[in-house]
Symmetry: C2
């Protein structure tokens, strides 16, 4: 039994990718009013497959905050079944991107609503209302931004790289098709301008946070407010907790450490939260003019998550 959370009442905005952000948003919800948290969510991973518009980061966060996430897979819904995918595979269809039956309902719902003229913002709000998620989820833009990878086997979309090739091939460059023409979705710039603190979730800097920063207007706000920006390092002891952040940082010439993360976010953040395992790197981060908060950043238990939430708000 955890002690009753001491709710801190202040409005924050969190730049968010998928799993790492979902967990941080959950941690923050333990120590403040969820309704005072806004997540500005990456859409660079979004894809259209089988005609369905799929927003993996929005869905991962929604499912996680609704308590419906599949912890075992770290994506999709718990208690999921695979009737459609099994039948599609049997037909010889594109079944490499596994969509569970209940998860498919989300994509059918979104796609139908988009066809009716709704935006991704509308759908995110509707799904959160449906599942009682109080955190406000804002896709960073309702325009198309596609994170693309130049690899040893050619130019790949996010999901081709990430899921089909299991991020196991070398990347020489990353780009964000459509980003420079994208318009920030309603409420996004306002949420970033008016919150008391901006948080960069421990998501992949190169492929989850960067496509958010690329949407015109957003980087400038962070530069302007960098003293109010706190990032949580996704690199602990030289490795990513999950996913290819470590590999990609190395392939693209960055230092694979919280110092490399600090360098990547230079000019954008005032504080970096790093893990105890990296305590000896605090000085190197401070030398870059960035404050450091050392704590346990792996959200492996509710107690750890709560501690990280408090560190981010402190």
């Amino acid at each position: 039994m955890l002690p009753k959370p001491s709710k801190v009442s202040r409005v924050i905005t969190v730049l968010s990718g998928g799993v790492g952000a979902a967990r941080l948003l959950g941690a923050l919800s333990m120590v403040m009013e969820p309704s005072e948290i806004t997540a500005v969510v990456n859409v660079g991973d979004d894809l259209v497959l089988h005609g369905l518009t799929i927003c993996p980061d929005l869905d991962t966060i929604t499912y996680t905050l609704a308590g419906l996430n599949n912890d075992k897979l770290s994506w999709g819904l718990r208690g999921e079944s695979w009737r459609v995918m099994d039948a599609l595979e049997d037909l010889g269809g594109e079944a490499w991107f596994r969509l569970g039956d209940r998860d498919l309902a989300t994509h059918l719902y979104r796609t139908q609503r988009l066809a009716e003229g709704a935006t991704k913002s509308d759908v995110a709000r509707e799904l959160c209302e449906h599942w009682g998620v109080a955190v406000r989820l804002l896709p960073v833009t309702n325009d198309e931004v596609a994170t693309m990878f130049d690899t040893e086997v050619g130019r790949l979309s996010f999901q081709e790289y990430f899921v089909r090739h299991r991020h196991g091939i070398e990347v020489s460059a990353i780009s964000f098709d459509g980003a420079e023409r994208a318009v920030a979705a309603p409420e996004v710039l306002d949420a970033l301008r008016t919150c008391s603190r901006i948080v960069i979730a421990p998501s992949n800097p190169l492929i989850s946070i960067e496509p958010i920063l690329q949407v015109p207007g957003i980087r400038a706000i962070l530069e302007d407010r960098h003293a109010d920006v706190v990032a949580v390092s996704p690199i602990i002891a030289g490795a990513a907790v999950k996913g290819p952040a470590d590999r990609l940082l190395a392939e693209l010439g960055h230092d694979v450490s919280c110092v490399g993360v600090a360098h990547y976010y230079r000019g954008l953040i005032g504080t970096l939260v790093i893990d105890q395992a990296d305590a000896e790197l605090a000085t190197a981060v401070r030398e870059r003019g960035i404050n450091v908060h050392v704590t346990t950043t792996i959200m492996s238990s509710p107690e750890n998550a709560r501690r990280l939430g408090e560190a981010v708000l402190s």
Copy 2:
């Protein structure tokens, strides 16, 4: 145990809607080589829902000929489950058009293939190959044709009228958006020109056969070859075996009988197959210059189906 079919070797082409056509094609497959049967299939009921391209008539025929059809529902697949629809309904999504989990795989497959540049013709062939259906299924066109209903509640698409309103509202006119600009799909005109016999399935003349006839080139071939065209009346004893054919014929001023069907197809057919229940109407049909074949047209048993198949070929 049925006697071994006496296969009649001649090539025929069947203008086909959904369930009635599927059953007739099954009946014909009992008395001739299935590979010598071509079905030219209505696409006026096709719809895009949840971003998925759905071809109800093509799918009904494919599932039926593959022996996978759900007889109880008279649409979809047998042994079907409803995980996705139940979840979609729970989300408040558009769940009035029930799509089973396995059926959804067909629509995902088709939609993905169309996105890759395939045509409905290609997909129909691929699905038939997958399920071992030897009858050749040709969508009448790969262009969009939409059967539309002017009703007491406004202009409705086919599925809005048929499924959402369960064809229970009054219709004042039917039109076929896009038909006059549609181009017959590959092999369609050739199949109609070169077959030894053209059959019009006992599908709804107004909404299943008419959108086929509206595709430029098709009506002219039937007029030219009317002596070789055999239709099976979908009206028996003044009623449709299934669906709203009787109601629609009446609402649009046609005689609700096999004589009305003969009149509707005047100039296009040389022979009408009518049910024994309508034997006394044979003379009235013949007076319109159309030959009559009287038999049992309800395919309620394999024996009846076989007899109808033989009647159509005789």
